[in-house]
């Protein structure tokens, strides 16, 4: 059974056909001359018989991530065990013009691993070593199979941790590839600020170290910043096989707090003032009234149904007291109420439960439906405006969309809960997301704060960057990947 490839003309094509799985026979892909009879044995000679799979189930598993994009299975999946094998496999693919799709944990949210033109999926999970931990220098190098929770577990005896925490337990190299971020970016930064060096395999098999082999300094002004060129490139410029990360000390003490506000404006004003006051706040998360209602229902809680801020402070015992006092004052001045805080792990967990379960609480609003998360980011001062306009849009178009946001970064997610089989709703939601993205762009913002461009936001990227910048990006792409085999169909 084969289905024709549907060209991705719409901004969010994934919303038009959730459950169609693209079956394509091996013969159908772009390879015309050599034929798979030569390629498969070549791949097997590099990573062994067990390291190559043509099975349909395995290919399907590697053709989807946690987005709503339809599954695009690759033609073959390989499991290299070392950077030398990655390089050898890349050379084979380069010679035969086969697309290369890097695969970490498959937890992306923008369809980045879909093999839209078929090709070879490089599943890097067997390269899972933590290398070169330097405790006194606060750096460590990891391979793509190491996830962020895996690394923090490894580091648990050292008093160090890697704080970037996207929702999923993602591969750290994958997080570098998508320039991921988490709830404590407001204090610790995103991947962009915390990757010191990368080992990358280019489309033709060349292995490079973006900051030079073995270099792991906290700062550098040596040459072009290739490290940050590859961070966020989503596999379109090369395969990341090692990343050197900056580590931080585990906080001595943690305090969590929750506060309710009469309006979105009041909540964001408080955020701005807290940051201006110099409070080194670790997490500051916003949940709107719809979300609070959902969380109350889901967890049988009784939070006030109003815009709410969830805060977390890291520091020494003494500094925490000061941080909390200053913050409480600011929230009070902005009309905040019900300020509650907790020090011990159990109560903190209970306070933050609403925020942790936001995704599931949203899904529970309409059982049987799927959820899609938007990801726009604007300058802090413009956040109230965009949230208010967005909420009006949601109500007007009868869309279920509770809002949760990393308000300290100006980034918020609208969790759109919809019935994938209701074509009319799908279209309505699709158009909403287009309007939201354009609204953010009009406010000097970006269409994607942390999830990446992937399959669905390429047209938006063009609007966001402008034609000249896109040309520069395409020039870089053409230089590093002239045959366009690195994860085709993504980003540009």
């Amino acid at each position: 059974m084969t289905f024709a490839l549907r060209p991705a003309r719409r901004l969010y094509p994934q919303l038009s056909a959730y459950t169609v799985v693209q079956y394509r026979t091996i013969k159908e892909h772009t390879l015309k001359n050599a034929g798979w009879e030569r390629v498969i044995p070549a791949l097997r000679s590099v990573c062994g018989d067990d390291g190559v799979s043509l099975s349909e189930a395995v290919r399907e598993q590697h053709g989807r991530d946690e987005s709503v994009h339809r599954c695009c299975p690759p033609d073959v999946v390989v499991w290299p065990r070392s950077v030398e094998e990655v390089s050898a496999l890349a050379k084979i693919c380069h010679h035969h013009r086969l697309p290369i799709i890097p695969f970490g944990t498959g937890t992306g949210l923008e369809g980045g691993v879909g093999a839209v033109k078929g090709g070879v999926c490089f599943s890097l999970r067997n390269m899972d070593r933590v290398l070169d931990l330097h405790q006194e220098d606060f750096d460590v190098t990891v391979e793509p199979g190491v996830t962020r929770k895996g690394l923090n577990s490894y580091l648990r005896d050292t008093g160090l941790w890697f704080p970037v925490d996207p929702g999923a337990d993602a591969s750290l190299c994958g997080m570098a590839a998508t320039s991921a971020s988490g709830t404590n970016a407001v204090r610790y930064g995103t991947m962009r600020e915390n990757v010191l060096n990368l080992e990358v395999v280019l489309a033709d098999g060349t292995i490079i170290h973006t900051a030079g082999r073995g270099r792991r300094t906290r700062k550098t002004s040596a040459g072009y910043n290739l490290t940050n060129l590859f961070v966020g490139s989503e596999g379109t410029l090369g395969l990341i096989t090692k990343t050197t990360l900056r580590l931080y000390g585990v906080p001595e003490a943690v305090v969590s707090a929750v506060c309710t506000f009469p309006s979105v404006q009041a909540a964001v004003d408080s955020t701005v003032q807290i940051l201006q006051a110099g409070v080194p706040i670790a997490r500051i998360e916003f949940l709107d009234d719809v979300m609070m209602n959902a969380c109350n229902s889901f967890n049988s809680l009784s939070y006030p149904v109003a815009p709410t801020l969830f805060l977390e402070f890291h520091g020494t015992e003494n500094s925490l007291e000061e941080q909390v006092t200053v913050t409480e004052e600011i929230t009070r001045d902005n009309g905040g109420s019900d300020f509650s805080w907790a020090r011990d792990a159990e109560t903190r967990g209970r306070l933050w439960k609403a925020r942790h379960d936001a995704w599931y609480a949203s899904l529970a609003l309409r059982p049987g439906c799927k959820a899609y998360s938007t990801d726009v980011c604007v300058p802090l001062s413009l956040l109230p405006q965009i949230i208010v306009e967005t909420k009006k849009d949601l109500v007007l178009n009868r869309i279920t969309g509770p809002i949760a946001g990393h308000v300290g970064d100006g980034n918020f997610h609208c969790i759109l809960v919809l019935d994938p089989d209701d074509q009319e709703e799908v279209t309505r939601v699709h158009e909403f997301t287009e309007r939201l993205a354009r609204r953010a762009l009009a406010l000097n913002g970006t269409c994607t704060g942390e999830h990446g461009v992937g399959l669905g936001k390429r047209a938006l990227l063009r609007e966001e960057m402008g034609p000249q910048v896109i040309e520069v990006m395409q020039g870089l792409k053409a230089t590093l990947d002239p045959k366009n085999i690195m994860n085709p169909g993504k980003v540009l």
Binding site: Y154, R156, G159, V250, E252
Partner: protein
């Protein structure tokens, strides 16, 4: 106020993929990440919690093994123990060291340190013996509260909620006592950098088993070296999973007796006593 002795064991880190040595004599330990046994972490956390509640005065961490065991003691110190004791066991003695030897050492130390509680993890994740705590209690003739998921000091007694097969059992035992920590007792804290720095200054006493009057050799009933109680013979990797196979229809492959039975009619099940072997159930008939 009292002193608590906590036994900690250095084991291969739980997240490491275990590999068997090529000669099948054991598992690969060289260059492999080691850390404190997870149940020992829980034991340390409980002891430190008791100290923070000011119910006990001092927590002493003990580990038996070669030099590397001191790393594990340092982690315990960083979590809040006051001082450590490293009982040095190396070479053949270390290879054959098992719960019996460790419990002899812990018993001797418990007496020497005048401990009112000995807390250990319920078992180690490398040998899964689940014997050290119990043997220590027996050697000391102390009561034991094993598989503890909740510990409350009540004067000179300890109330322990134990995890047992049927659920939870609550017992009250006299101190001094031996406790073994189960999973749900607490969530161990992470060692923070400042505490790791402070731990470097805490004292770790070094001693040999002989100084405690402990004989490390394990002898069988025959006496002499011929009767080792515990000796590892062979380490073999699990055989890899075989491929499954698809069968076209369950009906054609089931034993006729099952096909004939109406499982909705309970009367037809009464007296149904034919025992079928698995291979009989799935007959590769031509269907």
């Amino acid at each position: 106020m009292s002193r608590v002795l906590v036994g900690v064991k250095r084991v291969i880190d739980y997240a490491v993929k275990i590999r068997v040595k090529p000669d099948n004599s054991g598992v690969v330990t060289d260059g492999v990440k080691h850390s404190m046994n997870p149940f020992c972490e829980i034991a340390v956390e409980e002891a430190v919690k008791l100290k923070e509640k000011k119910l006990i005065k001092e927590v002493v961490a003990v580990s038996c093994g070669p030099t590397q065991a001191t790393e594990t003691i340092r982690t315990a110190l960083a979590m809040g123990c006051d001082r450590g004791i490293h009982v040095e066991v190396t070479g053949k003695d270390y290879e054959s060291m098992g719960p019996l030897q460790v419990s002899k050492i812990l018993a001797a130390l418990a007496k020497r340190e005048e401990a009112s509680l000995v807390i250990v993890g319920k078992q180690a994740i490398d040998d899964d013996c689940n014997q050290t705590g119990q043997m220590t209690a027996a050697l000391l003739d102390w009561p034991q509260g094993t598989f503890a998921s909740e510990v409350t000091l009540e004067g000179d007694k300890v109330k322990v909620v134990r995890e047992i097969d049927g659920g939870l059992e609550t017992i009250k035992i006299n101190m001094p006592a031996v406790l073994t920590a189960d999973l749900r007792l607490n969530t161990p804290r992470y060692a923070t950098l400042p505490n790791i720095m402070k731990a470097k200054k805490k004292k770790i006493a070094n001693m040999k088993p002989a100084e405690l009057g402990v004989d490390m050799v394990s002898r069988g009933p025959g006496g002499g070296s011929e009767g080792d109680i515990l000796r590892g013979l062979l380490a073999v990797e699990q055989s890899s999973r075989q491929h499954g196979g698809l069968i076209s229809s369950s009906r054609t492959h089931l034993h006729p007796a099952i096909v004939a039975t109406d499982f909705h009619d309970s009367s037809s099940l009464k007296g149904y006593s034919e025992t079928l072997s698995f291979t009989e159930l799935i007959q590769p008939t031509g269907g």
